[in-house]
Structures are given as structure tokens and as C-alpha cells.
Amino acid sequence: MAGKSGRTLSITQESSWKKAVFSWEGILILLFIAVNILCICISPNYNLKNVLREMPKYLTEVFLLLPMAYLLLLGEIDISVGASVCLSATMACMACNAGLPFPLVLLVGLAVGTLCGAVNGFILTRFTELPPMIVTLGTQIVFRGIAEITLGSGGSISLTNTKQFHAMAGKIGPVPYMFFVVILAAAIYMVVLGKTTFGRRVYAIGSNSLASYYAGIHVQKIRFFVFTLAGFMAGVSAIFLTSVLYGANTTTGNGFEMDAIAMAVFGGISTAGGKGKLLGAIISAFTIICLRIGLGQINMNPQVILVILGALLVLAVLLPNLAKKARSMGIMAKAA
């Protein structure tokens, strides 16, 4: 029963292997294996090659998951990242169609995303009373609105020159480049969160922002940085998404923010801040991706997949809570 203060009242010291298996990450790994076995059973086409081929579409969301996990650990939330992806992808496509050299196109995409994040961060650190949910809700409408204005009445844009983006979507053997980038980014994010002072500060602010402020942590600077980082990763996601879709439209990135939040929460990160590990979030992301690919292969109605994902999300949080409640009632009964 770890409280928000971090104090724990453990009764017996459990052995380490037991801890490893029964930790949330352990359960997630078991779930990941179970999902894969299920998919192999229901779909004859479910093999490594096909999964890797279909993965890029979903991997773009993992880029958003990484900074979202940081934000949730801070006790913040950013629902504008999907719109940032839309705006960055639109701008990158525009730049590419205008004949800009490829590195500059990438730069435009990243810069637009970073700017979106910085706007969020600026408003939220300047007016600290404002809840992040509401502000990013407003900026979400604005970002997508700007993309709508840019795209004009057609509402979509497609690349006239797909050569470089096509090269970006290339593969080493069966494994797409994007997979390596995701793994590299995930590794960097995990090391920064687990092994640096910055990471510890993120946890500290998430558990008690006022105490962290008195302890000399630049709370607002870190909040600004992480919001900007979320925007930057939205830019990265937009570029890779463009390399898969060869274009953008007004609905690009719709619902990405919710998927990223769902992956993080399913991975055991509390939206109240300060609790959770990035490893769990990444395992849960791949579990959800595999499930989606498997169910998609047997032509399951996408709406049914939505229902299953929603139910999984609720159950993932509900069941441990109920178990905890039952256990604490048991302890109380024993004490009485």
C-alpha cells in the first residue's frame, strides 16, 4: 500500500523472483506472450514477417507514448499531440512538395512539432493555475485548425515526390528502419528516466510538485521542457507517418493522443503522477500493437477491436484496484 508519499507498509519481504513475476511488468510480459499465442492460433498469417510488415503504421504512436509517459509521470497530460502530428505532417508535405531539399523537409516537420509543444509549455508555465487538460484541448483545436487552413478546401495533400520518404520507410532484412529508431528512442528515454537526475526530478515533481519546488528543482523549467519534448516527438512521429502514408489530411493523427495515453496507463503509469515505469508502457505498447495486427488479420470489425481495447484499458486499472481493496480488507479482518 504505497501512498503518494512513497512510504510502504510491506508486511513480509517477498523473494526477488516472485517480485519480478508478480510486478506489473512481469504480468505484462506474460500477457504479451499470451496475446501472441492467441494471434497465432486465430490467424494463419500471423508470423514475424507479416507482423513486421504491418507494424510501421502503429509504431508511429510509440513515439508519442514516450514523452506522454514523462508527462503522465509529472502529473500532466497533453491531448494536443495528435493535432501536432497532423500539423507537422501537413507542413512537412507542403515543404516537400515545394521542392525543398529533404533534410530541410525533415527540419520543417520537427520544428513545427517542437513549436506546438513549446506553445503548450509556454501557456502552462506562464499561467500555472490552468489545468493542462483544458489548455491542450484548446491548442488541439487550434493546431488542427491551422492544418485545416493550410490544407485548404480539399482537406488533404499527397506527396508529389515520394522518393526520399520511400527510402526512409526501407528495411534491413524484414525489419523496418523505424523499428530500430523506436527501440533506440525507447532506450534513451528509459535511461534518462531511470539513471539521470532529470529522471528522478520528473518522479519527484510528479509525487509532490510543491515539495520539489522547495527542494530547489526548477519545476516550471522541467514542465516546459517536457511539453516541448512531446511536441518534438510529435514531429518525429509525423515524419515517419508521412513515410508510410505519403501524404496528410485533416484527420491525420486523430485519436493518437488517446492511444498513447491508453498504452501508458495500460503499462502501469498513473495519471496522477509519480508512479509507473517506462518499461511497462513499452511492453504494453507492443502488446496492444500485436493484438491489433492479429485481430486485423482475421478481418475483425475495427469497431469490435475498439471495444476490446477499451475494455482492456478499464480492466487493466480496475482489476489491480479491486485486488488491492480485497487484500486490504483481508488484512483488516485478520487484525480484528
Binding site: 489548455v135 484541448l137 483545436i141 485545416e148
Partner: protein, 333 residues
């Protein structure tokens, strides 16, 4: 001079008065730019088109007062709306009253389930409602088998939004329902035990629990009411827009939250009034109505709306800071 100062104090001292001022100024600007705005017909149209958002704003007020949030309402609305649409399409039920009851019952059941998960399961509102947002939207597609009901399928039901029977020939049925909702909520929030308990739980849950309020039950009731209003909104939306589609009002839950927040409802709980919510949703409705009238390009409307929402909430914070400073100054003297 002293009178002027007191007037200034009235304006900055009460959020409702300052909101009313914003609304009047907004209407005046729009009226100058486009004289066709302030006619009874155009205002009635505006209210009718925003009725669903306005009704759900009252429920959202309760949810936000508890410090919670509900982003599943648009999905609940689509689910109940699609049920109504399908019942009409396959000629099962034609009675408008019965259909409204069914829609509200479905909404209440959806809301009750969310309330149970949040109050008994201890799941954070944003997570629980996000999950149910997916689930109910999926149900909306499944119940119609991904089909939709068009105007000719709806028969007489769509006339509900055109008739004035409930308003005794003066007001449109839909507007009457909006008014009834606001009056009931105003009374409940101000003068009944339930309303005061909602405020108590929202401002300090521990203190409320210690003083004998069953906080879990209050949460359950509030989320159930929210669901019921979303269900009602579903039936209304089918009547007003004379079609039932599974992607009905996709993403519009954000408009509901925005109109509450513009109306001065705090998302951390405990602060906000029914009048503020009404003014907030009216401001949002006027903005949406005015943008095309003023001649802003249809493509730019979302951007302008977003900028105005941001501006209003930032303005809220600035006036709040000014109020606090003034109060401090008053104490010094």
C-alpha cells in the same frame, strides 16, 4: 468616482457578472458586424443547434464539481442516438415519448457503469471514461451494424425538433427541454441536499466523508445523471439533425468541457455554478454562430474558436489574479 469603483468591483468580484458582460460585448460586436444576428429566429436556431451541448454541460458541471471528468459522453450519446435511429428504421417503436425514455435509460445505464468503475473500483475518471469512450463508440457502430438512419427512416420523430407543443406554441420543444434541464439543475444545485453534497465532496472529499457523506454514492449519482443527460442528448441530436450516425458528435465532448470551463467551472472541483455554465455555453454558441456571419472563412472557424477558448480561459486566470490582489490590498488598508 466611488460609484465607478464599486461598479468595477461588481464586475470583477463576480464571475457570472463578468461573463455576462463578455456575452453582451460579444453579441454587440457581432450585431454591429452583421445586423441579421439579433433576430428571434436566428437566436432560436442557435439555441436549437447547440441544445445538445448545452444540456450535457449541466451534467458535466456536476462531474467537474466532483473534480472528475467525463470524456465518454459523446460516445454514450452516439450509442443511445443510434439505438433510437435503429428502432425507428426497423419500425419497432414510433412513440417519441417512449423513444426518449429508452434513450435516457440507455444513457443512465452507461453512466451508472462508469460511476461504479470510478466510485467502487477507484479508477481515475479520465482513464475510466477514456476506456468507455472506445467501448460505447464501438457499441454505436455495432448496434447499427455500421449502418445509419437517414431522415426518411426517422418518420415523424424528426418533427419533434420542429414542433412547439411543449412550449405552448411559443418555444421550440428542444429549447423547452434545455430550459427545463437548467431550471432543475439550478434548483438542485442551490437548494437541495444532493447539490450541496456535490459541492462538499468536490471541495474536500475527506472532510465530506468524515462529516458523514457517502462520497462514493454521490459520485455514482453524478455520473449516472451525466450519462442520462448524454442519452437524452442522443435522442435530441437524432431529432435536431434528423439523422442517426455512429460517428455522431465525434470529439464534441471537448465542446461540453470547454463551455463549462469558460463558464468558470474549476476542473479541480468544488467551484462553478449553473448560471456560469449557462453563460459559458451561450458564449460558445454565439461564437460558433457568429463566425460564419462575420464572414470568417469556414476553414478558419476551428482555429478562431480554439484561440477564443484559450483567450477566455487565460483571461479567467488573469482576472482571478487581479481579484486576489485586490482582496489582499483591501486587507492591507
Amino acid at each position: 468616482m466611488s460609484e465607478k469603483k464599486s461598479l468595477w468591483k461588481i464586475i470583477t468580484g463576480s464571475r457570472e457578472v463578468s461573463l455576462l458582460l463578455v456575452l453582451i460585448v460579444l453579441c454587440a460586436i457581432v450585431q454591429i458586424l452583421s445586423p441579421s444576428f439579433l433576430t428571434i429566429k436566428s437566436i432560436m436556431d442557435m439555441l436549437k443547434n447547440n441544445s445538445v451541448i448545452m444540456i450535457m454541460s449541466t451534467g458535466m458541471l456536476g462531474v467537474l464539481l466532483l473534480g472528475g471528468i467525463d470524456i465518454s459522453i459523446a460516445s454514450t450519446l452516439a450509442f443511445s442516438g443510434m439505438t433510437v435511429g435503429m428502432l425507428l428504421k426497423y419500425d419497432i417503436i414510433h412513440n417519441a415519448f417512449l423513444l426518449f425514455l429508452i434513450a435516457m435509460a440507455i444513457g443512465a445505464a452507461c453512466g451508472c457503469l462508469i460511476g461504479l468503475v470510478i466510485s467502487r473500483g477507484g479508477v481515475l475518471p479520465i482513464i475510466a471514461t477514456m476506456g468507455f469512450m472506445y467501448i460505447y463508440r464501438g457499441f454505436a457502430y455495432l448496434i447499427g451494424n455500421s449502418q445509419w438512419a437517414s431522415a426518411e427512416n426517422l418518420g415523424d420523430f424528426k418533427n419533434f425538433a420542429l414542433n412547439k407543443t411543449l412550449g405552448l406554441g411559443l418555444l421550440n420543444n428542444v429549447i423547452v427541454i434545455v430550459l427545463i434541464c437548467y431550471v432543475i439543475f439550478f434548483i438542485v444545485m442551490k437548494w437541495t441536499r444532493l447539490g450541496r453534497k456535490v459541492y462538499a465532496v468536490g471541495s474536500n472529499p475527506e472532510a465530506a466523508a468524515v462529516s458523514g457523506i457517502h462520497t462514493a454514492n454521490i459520485k455514482l449519482i453524478v455520473y449516472t445523471i451525466m450519462g442520462m443527460l448524454a442519452g437524452l442528448g442522443g435522442a435530441l441530436a437524432v431529432a435536431v439533425y434528423s439523422s442517426a450516425q455512429p460517428n455522431m458528435l465525434y470529439g464534441r465532448e471537448m465542446d461540453v468541457i470547454a463551455s463549462c470551463v469558460i463558464g468558470g467551472v474549476s476542473t479541480t472541483g468544488g467551484r462553478g455554478t449553473v448560471v456560469g455554465t449557462l453563460l459559458g455555453s451561450l458564449i460558445l454558441a454565439v461564437i460558433a454562430k457568429a463566425l460564419p456571419l462575420v464572414g470568417i472563412d469556414a476553414l478558419a472557424q476551428n482555429t478562431v474558436k480554439g484561440v477564443i477558448i484559450l483567450a477566455v480561459i487565460i483571461l479567467n486566470v488573469v482576472t482571478q489574479r487581479m481579484m486576489d490582489r485586490n482582496n489582499l490590498k483591501g486587507r492591507e488598508m
